[in-house]
């Protein structure tokens, strides 16, 4: 009986994995073929990847910068914000949490339009990468805050705070010494979400970008729209090369901090 369920489990998992992985593998394959329509017989080349790099290297770096700035801002605003909301509690805090979550429910295009309407007049800001970063922060902040609030709900932070206070610790040190280390799992999970969302974000960014502030997904859309299929597919390869190590890296950091808190 157990064997049967184990085999079924493996089969379903394998099928699901194939379902997810095959399209990605096909893209990688397409990006490496000389001519996708003619298939393997035409041979393989790195030419398309090279061309993508020549044309779009700046979007790769910009995406990284945007993701890191977004992460920095969500950490600075989201973590103390989440703690403040937890401390405040009650109906007001819940209302604020809902409002902060709103940008996730609103279509990215609408949000981008709202931002352009508000800040379109400020030319330099409108044209800077920072403008894109602000959009990403609005969109990713709730993920950071909710992740931290979820962990706060599982620890008795009020008593921890009172304990530290009784030992003479001022409010800011209690936050740094006691609250932050104990919500670390929430911060790490939130950071992972923020970075991946920011790097892959398209519809908000597409509306907000200028020719000088293109991010990787926007460049990808460009390539699909205006160039041959092989180049667009090669772009996917570049994206994967960038994102996969990043994800593994963040997971590793998460694993390390977890082990430290547990041991």
């Amino acid at each position: 009986m157990r064997q049967w369920t184990t085999i079924a489990g493996i089969a379903i998992t394998a099928l699901l994995t194939l379902f997810l992985v095959v399209p990605i593998l096909l893209s990688v394959y397409a990006g490496l073929t000389v001519n996708y329509a003619r298939g393997i017989s035409a041979g393989f080349t790195f030419e398309w990847v090279r061309q993508v790099w020549d044309l779009y290297a700046d979007t790769v770096w910009r995406s990284l910068v945007v993701a890191l700035l977004t992460l920095a801002l969500t950490l600075l605003i989201g973590v103390p914000g989440a703690y403040a909301l937890a401390r405040k509690g009650g109906r007001f805090a819940r209302a604020v949490e809902e409002i902060v979550t709103l940008p996730v429910a609103v279509p990215g295009l609408a949000l981008a339009l709202a931002l352009i309407l508000s800040y379109g007049g400020f030319g330099t800001f409108r044209k800077s990468t920072l403008f894109v970063v602000i959009g990403h922060v609005l969109f990713t902040l709730p993920f950071m805050m909710r992740s931290v609030i979820a962990v706060l709900d599982t620890i008795d932070w009020r008593t921890l705070d009172e304990g530290a206070a009784s030992l003479g610790s001022p409010a800011w040190r209690r936050f740094v010494d006691v609250i932050l280390p104990n919500v670390r799992p929430g911060i790490v999970a939130g950071a992972l979400t923020v970075v991946t969302l920011s790097i892959g974000e398209f519809n908000l960014t597409w509306m907000m970008h200028t020719p000088m502030t293109k991010t990787l997904p926007v460049g990808l859309a460009d390539a699909y729209a205006s160039m041959r299929l092989e180049i667009a597919s090669a772009y996917t390869i570049v994206f994967l090369i960038m994102v996969i190590p990043l994800l593994i890296g963040v997971q590793l950091i998460a694993g390390l901090t977890e082990r430290r808190t547990k041991s």
Binding site: E162, A164, A165, N182
Partner: protein
């Protein structure tokens, strides 16, 4: 009041005075205006059922709650009502310990010293000394999650004592432990507090704990102190019905006193108790141990319903009438069988009489 200092104790810490100290939450007064005088070095236990205001009183002294008015709490005569807890220099032991999971046992104990910028070598020496005092040297580098409940409790105590607080406040520090451990630590904490000679306020709902630890006990009821006195006084001379019931077991015999005699009809026989005083309806109270078997005539007689062996003594449940059940402690060397009828005397000096309950 009846503050009695144990001999040889070094007295330290501040005296605590509260003046008309009260606390109102959302229009509900959880602590009625309370006057309290705790001399330096004394251990006061706040005892009472949940919701009686004992924890609120403790948190007010700690500075975790703001009192209703000004100049309500003084340490050594100095008004601290407006001083927040982080500046009040109080040691606090929480029911859930509030230990920091991100730090080791030693780091927890050293935290208050680190905040006070005590120089590293001195800090480490002091931490070691305190860990030795509570018997945790070997566990210094363990994480909090890797030590037992009793060890956590002692870590919390060492951490609170490390900052050399003016007063030590303990909020049900043993409530989270199992019965055996609780009993052992109760004795240890009592000894440790006396050794430190520190002013301490100890909140508990466990009367045995209160008796073991307190120099004085304040029994609280509905937001006020019902009685404050030494444990012996609280036990033998409870100020009212509530205290009598809350501390220890109390037997009650209700009836009417006529010509100085309380008469109870028990089947065919009449039980008579000489109590004196004017004619009145009354309830007489006495402790289970205040009885003695006798053969003299005029004794109280009761039928044994059950007997529980306690070691040196045994507790009998005995019926004078079906409405009047008594608990009697007698030496366990005597043997009884259920249904047996025993005659006994009640020590007249141990009989208490309260105004009839509302």
């Amino acid at each position: 009041m009846n503050a009695q200092a144990p001999v040889n104790a070094v007295r330290s810490g501040s005296s605590i005075t509260t003046r008309r100290l009260s606390k109102t939450f959302n229009g509900m007064t959880v602590l009625q205006p309370t006057d309290l005088e705790i001399p330096a070095g004394q251990i006061l236990v706040l005892l009472g059922p949940s919701g009686c205001g004992k924890t609120t009183l403790l948190r007010l002294i700690a500075g975790l709650e703001r009192p209703d008015g000004h100049d309500m709490i003084r340490f050594d005569g100095e008004d601290v009502s407006g001083v927040p807890i982080e500046k009040r220099n109080v040691g606090m032991v929480f029911q859930s310990y509030a230990l920091f999971p991100n730090m080791t046992v030693a780091e927890n104990v050293a935290y208050g010293l680190k905040i006070r910028k005590v120089e590293r070598t001195k800090r480490e020496a002091e931490t070691r000394r305190l860990l030795a005092l509570v018997g945790l040297e070997e566990y210094a580098d363990r994480r909090i999650s890797a030590v037992s409940g009793g060890q956590r409790q002692r870590t919390a105590l060492a951490r609170a004592l490390a900052i050399k607080p003016r007063v030590l406040l303990l909020d049900e520090p043993l409530a989270a432990l199992d019965a055996v451990l609780r009993e052992r630590l109760r004795v240890e904490i009592g000894l440790l507090l006396r050794e430190f000679g520190i002013t301490a306020v100890y909140v508990t709902h466990d009367q045995a704990e209160a008796m073991a630890i307190g120099d004085r006990i304040a029994v609280m009821q509905k937001g006020r102190i019902a009685q404050i006195d030494m444990p012996q006084e609280i036990y033998h001379r409870p100020a009212n019905d509530f205290v009598a019931d809350f501390v220890g077991t109390m037997n009650r015999i209700a009836g009417r006193v006529e010509n100085g005699v309380l008469t109870i009809r028990a089947g065919e026989t009449m039980v008579r108790l000489n109590v004196g005083g004017p004619d009145r309806p009354t309830t007489l109270c006495f402790r289970p141990e205040a009885v003695r078997l006798t053969s003299a005539s005029g004794a109280v007689v009761a039928r044994i319903a059950a007997a529980t062996f306690f070691g040196a003594t045994q507790r009998l449940v005995a019926e004078v009438t079906p409405e009047c059940r008594l608990q009697l402690d007698l030496p366990s060397s005597l043997s009884f069988t259920p249904g047996q009828i025993i005659p006994f005397d009640i020590d007249p000096a141990a009989i208490l009489e309260f105004k009839a309950r509302a």
